[in-house]
């Protein structure tokens, strides 16, 4: 079963080619200190983010979201805040593969960054292939995940998927 995604748009990264490492800053990432990374997360964008985010929230991205040489900690920290999904205009491939393998829902949806306002209530309708915006009463079709992406999303990531297969 595909994961249930319904929550607020906790932040909109509107700029194209956004490098997610900027969420933490590479100097914090180099420390490998989870608490330090969490304490400093999003400071460059919204110093109140950690207080405002809550479980079930969603991040919105622009085109080629995850650009560059993405590392795991920024979205691991976002997951620790309770963020359940990222919906973006498009994703960079290395970022996308890494986060889907981590079991983090990533959805490609053209127009999402322009039509969503921060804190809008969104819901993913997997069956209809639409992102429903309950705040504005509108909806957008999203790009259907590939077979492999669906498998990762259903199982909750690569490790869970591999555990479900007889590899011996």
């Amino acid at each position: 079963m595909m994961p249930t995604i319904r929550g607020r748009a906790a932040y909109i990264f509107g700029e194209a080619n956004f490098d997610v490492d900027r969420i933490l800053g590479f100097d914090a990432m180099r420390s490998h200190d989870h608490e330090r990374m969490k304490a400093g997360a999003m400071r460059a964008f919204d110093t109140e983010f950690a207080k405002e985010v809550r479980t079930g929230d969603i991040l919105i991205g622009g085109s080629n979201f995850g650009y560059g040489h993405p590392h795991g900690p920024p979205m691991a920290i976002m997951r620790s805040f309770g963020v359940k999904a990222v919906i973006a205009e498009s994703f960079s491939p290395l970022y996308l593969m890494g986060e889907l393998a981590a079991g983090f829902v990533q959805i490609t949806c053209g127009g999402i960054s322009e039509t969503t306002q921060r804190w809008d209530e969104l819901e993913v309708d997997w069956r209809a292939g639409r992102i429903m915006n309950h705040t504005s009463g509108t909806g957008l079709d999203f790009e259907a995940p590939t077979r492999n992406e669906r498998l990762l999303l259903k199982r909750g990531g690569l490790f869970a998927l591999l555990r479900s297969i007889d590899l011996s």
Partner: protein, 423 residues
């Protein structure tokens, strides 16, 4: 004529990797990599236990396909890191996996050690492995998807589309492959190959050196590409002969292959371009920065530090002195390159000019050594310029070619390398 369109290099390579039947872009496949390459990435040390305990895998499928590279945090700086390295060495010994220990930056060593086989399919945790595409290898960074390649014989993926960039002309003296990449980003956007393969073609491929091609393809991720690949020239095929770990027929795209986009680029139009903070997508002309002060230069990383980079730097610095107060770190990207540079006298020229020369390591690229402090400004031929990448988040990193790094080291400010190449 069947009317069936032709296939791209990527489609042909992946068709062989998943059994031989033709595949098309967009198709879901399970593909068997010819090579699975890795460095000591996060959690790797726990991975052998994980695949045994959770996945029931005690032996790797065909361990000769695997290669491990100890290149980050080399030399180690504490006992905990050394313990991690020792554990990896022991695991490789038990599994029969070849380990390249301190031989240099893994992607570069991979190209020297026979993994860059024209027509092969290789995967790595890290996206800069795309540089094996210089040799006609389809080499893809798959992040933690690499665990799948360790746990079973195939990986799940979709066949990517391809964007072809046909090159013509010739790069001017002092203009390098890094500038070409920045030129394409500036011209077509930082996502013009989003999730696709960037295929290089055209008569100008013959004018580019293998070092040029490796630098260019190693930077493919900054176009949004999954990877890059070049149609192998006679020079590439001759280079691969005798080095390749496996013998495969080289692969070329069909003339009527289907491309997502078909672009052209005239190399004579390329000029020195800089990626300014905070992102590799932020390309500016070198001329807009000329004269602005700099504190540090870094010449190295998996996308630089090759013998041609060192030759260019030595040509600029030979008989000159680095500007007092400016620090230049030069890091040959492999042991073999360092040996060659020493034999050619390049190391002596660079050191005599005042450069600090290091043995090959990834560590400078992410500030584990040679760290920048707040307020410093660096010109780097490394991979990334996001805040904090090489130390303080309040330092600024500008990315450019080895020629720009060396010329700027002489003057202690952004400098155009062109005047050092005037006959």
């Amino acid at each position: 004529m069947s009317g069936e369109p032709g296939y791209t290099m990527a489609e042909k390579i992946l068709a062989r990797a998943c059994g031989g039947a033709p595949v098309r872009a967009g198709q879901d496949i399970q593909a068997r990599p010819d090579f699975i390459l890795a460095y000591v990435f996060g959690g790797f040390v726990g991975f052998p236990k994980l695949i045994e305990r959770d996945f029931g895998v005690t032996r790797l499928d065909a361990p000769e396909r695997f290669g491990l590279f100890l290149d980050h945090n080399i030399p180690v700086t504490d006992t905990k890191l050394e313990a991690r390295m020792a554990e990896v060495r022991a695991w490789c010994g038990r599994q029969g996996v070849e380990i390249h220990d301190g031989a240099g930056i893994g992607h570069v060593v991979a190209s020297e050690a026979g993994y860059a086989v024209p027509g092969a399919f290789a995967v790595h945790f890290d996206g800069h492995v795309s540089q094996l595409g210089a040799f006609g290898t389809l080499a893809i960074g798959i992040h933690i998807g690499l665990y799948e390649a360790f746990a079973r014989s195939t990986i799940g993926m979709a066949v990517p589309e391809t964007v072809r960039v046909t090159l013509s002309g010739r790069l001017a003296a002092g203009v390098m492959a890094r500038d070409l990449m920045h030129h394409l980003i500036s011209r077509f956007g930082a996502d013009f190959c989003n999730r696709k393969v960037l295929e290089l073609a055209g008569s100008a491929l013959e004018t580019l050196s293998l070092d040029d091609l490796q630098t260019f393809t190693g930077l493919a991720m900054f176009t949004g590409a999954l990877t890059a690949i070049a149609a192998p020239t006679d020079k590439v095929l001759a280079h691969a002969q005798g080095r390749s770990r496996t013998q495969l027929a080289p692969v070329f795209s069909d003339p009527d292959a289907i491309y997502a986009a078909d672009l052209t680029c005239e190399l004579d139009e390329v000029r020195p371009l800089i990626a300014a903070p905070p992102s590799s997508a932020n390309i500016v002309g070198l001329e807009t920065l000329i004269g602005e002060s700099l504190d540090v230069g870094y010449l190295g990383s998996c996308v630089s530090g090759r013998i041609e980079d060192l030759r260019v730097a030595a040509r600029i610095l030979d008989g000159r002195t680095i500007k007092p107060g400016f620090t230049l770190n030069v890091v040959p990207s492999s042991r073999a390159i360092m040996v060659q540079a020493a034999q050619e006298g390049l190391i002596a020229s660079l050191a005599a000019a005042g450069a600090f020369i290091s043995s090959p390591t990834c560590s400078y690229c992410y500030g584990a050594v040679g760290a920048l402090t707040a307020g410093q400004r660096a010109i780097s031929s490394g991979t990334l310029n996001i805040p904090g990448r090489m130390g303080s988040a309040d330092a600024k990193i500008y990315l450019g070619s080895a020629a720009v790094v060396a010329a700027s080291a002489v003057e202690g400010r952004f400098a155009d390398p062109a005047r050092y190449f005037t006959p």
